[in-house]
C-alpha cells in the first residue's frame, strides 16, 4: 500500500498529494478535445495549506475533483495519501473532507441530520456520531439552528454547515472549492477564522479561490493556474517578490495625456504597465519613484503608492483579458 515516491522537490517522504503530468481532457461536440488540465505537477505535504489560484475555467475545479477521487484522470500519475484514485476511490474518499463549489446539502433534512447522515454514509456508528455532531455544530456556530431545515439558512450558514459536514469523518485532507464565493465580508471572515483553527489542528488544506486576499490569508504555498497549466508556484511572499516586486506606484494622467507621458517614464521602476485609465510602475521604492516622476515635471492627477499584492502577480501571470465562464 505504501508507495515509494521519487524524491520530490519538496522532499516529503509521503506527500498527501502527488501528481506528475496530471491531465484531463474532455471530448466536446463543437471543438474536439478540450484540455481542462494540461500535464500539471503537484506536491502537497502533510499539514500544509495549499492554494490553487486561477480565473474561472482555469482548471481548478477539475483538478480538485480528480484529487477528490470523483473524476478520473485522462493521463499522468496521481496518488492521494499513497493511494491511486483510479482503483481505490472509496478508501481515498474516507480520508477526505470535501467542500464543493456549489452546496450539496440535503434540503430534505435538518441541519443536524445533514451532518449525522453524512457521517453514517462513511459507516460511522450512531453512538460515535452523537457527540461529534454536537461538536461540529458548535464549531460551525449552528447550535441554535440544529433543527432548522437547510432552506432557511443564510449563504454563510450553509457554507459553515457544508464545512462542518465535511469534517464528520475526521479527514486528514480537506478540499475546499471556492469556499467563500458569494458570501458577504462578515461571513467570509468568520469562515476564515474556522479554517484557521482547522489548520492549527494539523489538517492538510487544499483550496481553490479567485480571491487574492483569501489566498494570502489562508495559504502557505500556492500555484497559479491558467488555461489548465501551472504558471507559477511558491509562497505568497515569494510569488509577490518574484513577479511583482515590493511596491506599486499607480499614477493617472487623464485619458489624453497618458500615452504622451509613457516615454518620459523610462528608467523609473523595474516594469511599467499601461492601462486605459492608469499607469502601474512595479518598483522597490515607491515613494522615491513618485518623487522622480514629479521631478521630471509629469505631475499626475492622482497618485498612489502601495504594497505589491498577490493580485498584481495574478493579473501579470494570467493577463487582464476578461475570462468568460
Amino acid at each position: 500500500m505504501d508507495v515509494a515516491f521519487p524524491p520530490g522537490r519538496h522532499g516529503w517522504l509521503c506527500p498527501v498529494i502527488w501528481a506528475r503530468d496530471l491531465t484531463k481532457s474532455y471530448a466536446t461536440k463543437t471543438s474536439g478535445d478540450v484540455l481542462a488540465v494540461d500535464s500539471i505537477d503537484l506536491e502537497v505535504g502533510p499539514g500544509e495549506s495549499f492554494g490553487i489560484l486561477g480565473a474561472n475555467g482555469a482548471g481548478k475545479s477539475t483538478t480538485m475533483r480528480m484529487i477528490g477521487a470523483t473524476l478520473q484522470r485522462t493521463s499522468g500519475e496521481l496518488t492521494i495519501l499513497g493511494h491511486d484514485p483510479q482503483h481505490e476511490g472509496p478508501l481515498i474518499r474516507a480520508h477526505l473532507g470535501v467542500v464543493p463549489q456549489q452546496d450539496t446539502l440535503d434540503t430534505d433534512l435538518t441541519v443536524r441530520e445533514n451532518i449525522y447522515v453524512y457521517g453514517r454514509y462513511f459507516g460511522l456508528s450512531r453512538a460515535e456520531l452523537q457527540p461529534r455532531v454536537d461538536d461540529l455544530l458548535d464549531f460551525a456556530q449552528l447550535q441554535d439552528k440544529r433543527d432548522a431545515k437547510v432552506d432557511s439558512l443564510s449563504g454563510g450558514m450553509k457554507r459553515r454547515l457544508t464545512i462542518a459536514r465535511s469534517l464528520v469523518n475526521e479527514p486528514s485532507l480537506l478540499l475546499l472549492d471556492e469556499p467563500t464565493t458569494g458570501l458577504d465580508p462578515q461571513a467570509r471572515h468568520l469562515l476564515w477564522d474556522r479554517l484557521f483553527r482547522l489548520r492549527e489542528t494539523g489538517v492538510t488544506l487544499v483550496l481553490t479561490t479567485h480571491y487574492m486576499d483569501e489566498a494570502e490569508q489562508l495559504c502557505e504555498r500556492l500555484v497559479v493556474m491558467d488555461a489548465g497549466r501551472i504558471v507559477a508556484e511558491g509562497s505568497p511572499a515569494h510569488l509577490i517578490r518574484t513577479h511583482a516586486g515590493r511596491e506599486v506606484v499607480e499614477v493617472r494622467f487623464g485619458a489624453q495625456r497618458s500615452n504622451e507621458v509613457v516615454p518620459h517614464l523610462a528608467g523609473i521602476g523595474q516594469r511599467t504597465e499601461v492601462l486605459p485609465d492608469r499607469i502601474l510602475l512595479y518598483t522597490e521604492a515607491g515613494e522615491a519613484d513618485l518623487h522622480e516622476i514629479v521631478a521630471r515635471g509629469l505631475t499626475p492627477t492622482t497618485a498612489l503608492v502601495r504594497r505589491a499584492s498577490l493580485e498584481d502577480v495574478f493579473l501579470r501571470l494570467t493577463g487582464r483579458t476578461l475570462v468568460d465562464e
Partner: protein, 280 residues
C-alpha cells in the same frame, strides 16, 4: 495491530476493511444508509405523497370492483369464475407496486440527481454507485411492500382474500417494485430534461390499461396476447393473480425469474451510469 484495525471505527479503518474486495471500487456495503436518509426525509417533506399512494388502489378497487362490478357480475379467467372485485384486486396491487416504484425511481431520483445534488454529496463520501443504486431501489421495494400490506388489509376487510397464499403477495409486490425501480432508475439516469420524464409517465398509461388489469387478455387477438405477455406489468399481474387465487404452478417460477432478470439488468445499467455521471 490487526485487532486494532478490526475494532477501529474511523472512516478510514472502515474503508480499509473493504479495500481488498472485488467490488470495493463501487460498493461500500452501506446501501442501508440511503434508507435511513429517505426515512428521515419522509418526516420533513415527502410523507403526504407516500401516504396518498395507499389510497389510489383502494379508490380503484371500490370504483371498478363495486361500481363497474355491479354491471359485470362474475369474470372467468380460464377455468375459475370470481367476482369482478376479486378479479381486479391482485392486478391493482401489482399496479400500485409498479406506480410507487416508478414514481420513486423517476421523479424523485431525477430531482435528487439534478436539483438537490444528493448523489454528488454521497459520492464524495466512501459510498459507491452500487450503494446508491441498491439503496434507492431498496427504498422503492419498501414502499411497494408497505402499499401491498395496506392494500391486502383492505382487500381482506372486503372479503376478497380466500387463501393463505395471499400472504405471498407481499414479497411478490417487492419483487415487482424491485424490477420497475431498477429499470426506472436506469432510464432516469439517462434523462436530461423533465419533459422526458413526462413521456415515460405517458407510456405508463397503456401499460396500466392494457396489461389485463381490468379484463382478461383473452379479449385480444392471439398475436397481441403474446406481446402483452412479454410486458412487465402483465407478468406482475399474472403473478399476483395466481397467488391470490392459490394457483401455484411452474408459470409462477417463470414470472419470478422474469423479474429477477430485468431487475438485475436495470441494477447493472444504473450502477454503470451513476459511475459515469459522478465518478468519471
Amino acid at each position: 495491530m490487526i485487532l486494532q484495525a478490526l475494532t477501529s471505527t474511523t472512516a478510514v479503518a472502515i474503508a480499509q476493511r473493504r479495500a481488498g474486495l472485488a467490488d470495493a471500487g463501487i460498493r461500500s456495503g452501506r446501501a442501508r444508509m440511503l434508507l435511513l436518509r429517505n426515512t428521515l426525509a419522509l418526516r420533513t417533506s415527502n410523507a403526504l405523497a407516500f401516504l396518498t399512494g395507499f389510497v389510489e388502489p383502494v379508490l380503484f378497487l371500490v370504483a371498478f370492483g363495486y361500481g363497474v362490478g355491479a354491471l359485470i357480475g362474475d369474470v372467468s379467467d380460464g377455468e375459475q369464475s370470481v367476482s369482478y372485485a376479486a378479479f381486479i384486486a391482485p392486478a391493482l396491487l401489482a399496479a400500485s407496486a409498479m406506480n410507487g416504484a416508478i414514481y420513486d425511481s423517476t421523479f424523485n431520483v431525477y430531482f435528487k440527481m439534478h436539483f438537490q445534488r444528493v448523489y454528488q454529496a454521497m459520492m464524495s463520501t466512501s459510498l459507491g454507485p452500487l450503494d446508491v443504486a441498491l439503496g434507492e431501489i431498496g427504498w422503492a421495494m419498501i414502499r411497494g411492500a408497505s402499499y401491498a400490506v395496506g392494500f391486502l388489509v383492505v382487500a381482506t376487510l372486503f372479503g376478497l382474500t380466500t387463501t393463505w397464499w395471499s400472504l405471498l403477495l407481499i414479497p411478490a409486490a417487492m419483487l415487482i417494485a424491485f424490477a420497475f425501480a431498477a429499470i426506472g432508475m436506469s432510464l432516469t439516469s439517462l434523462m436530461t430534461s423533465f419533459q422526458q420524464l413526462n413521456w415515460l409517465q405517458f407510456w405508463m398509461l397503456p401499460l396500466f390499461l392494457f396489461s389485463g388489469t381490468f379484463y382478461p387478455i383473452t379479449a385480444y387477438p392471439d398475436w397481441l396476447q403474446v406481446i402483452v405477455q412479454a410486458t412487465p406489468l402483465w407478468q406482475g399481474i399474472a403473478m399476483t393473480r395466481s397467488l391470490a387465487f392459490g394457483v401455484i404452478d411452474m408459470a409462477l417460477m417463470g414470472h419470478v425469474l422474469y423479474f429477477m432478470v430485468i431487475g438485475a439488468l436495470g441494477l447493472l445499467a444504473t450502477t454503470r451510469r451513476l459511475n459515469a455521471l459522478f465518478l468519471r
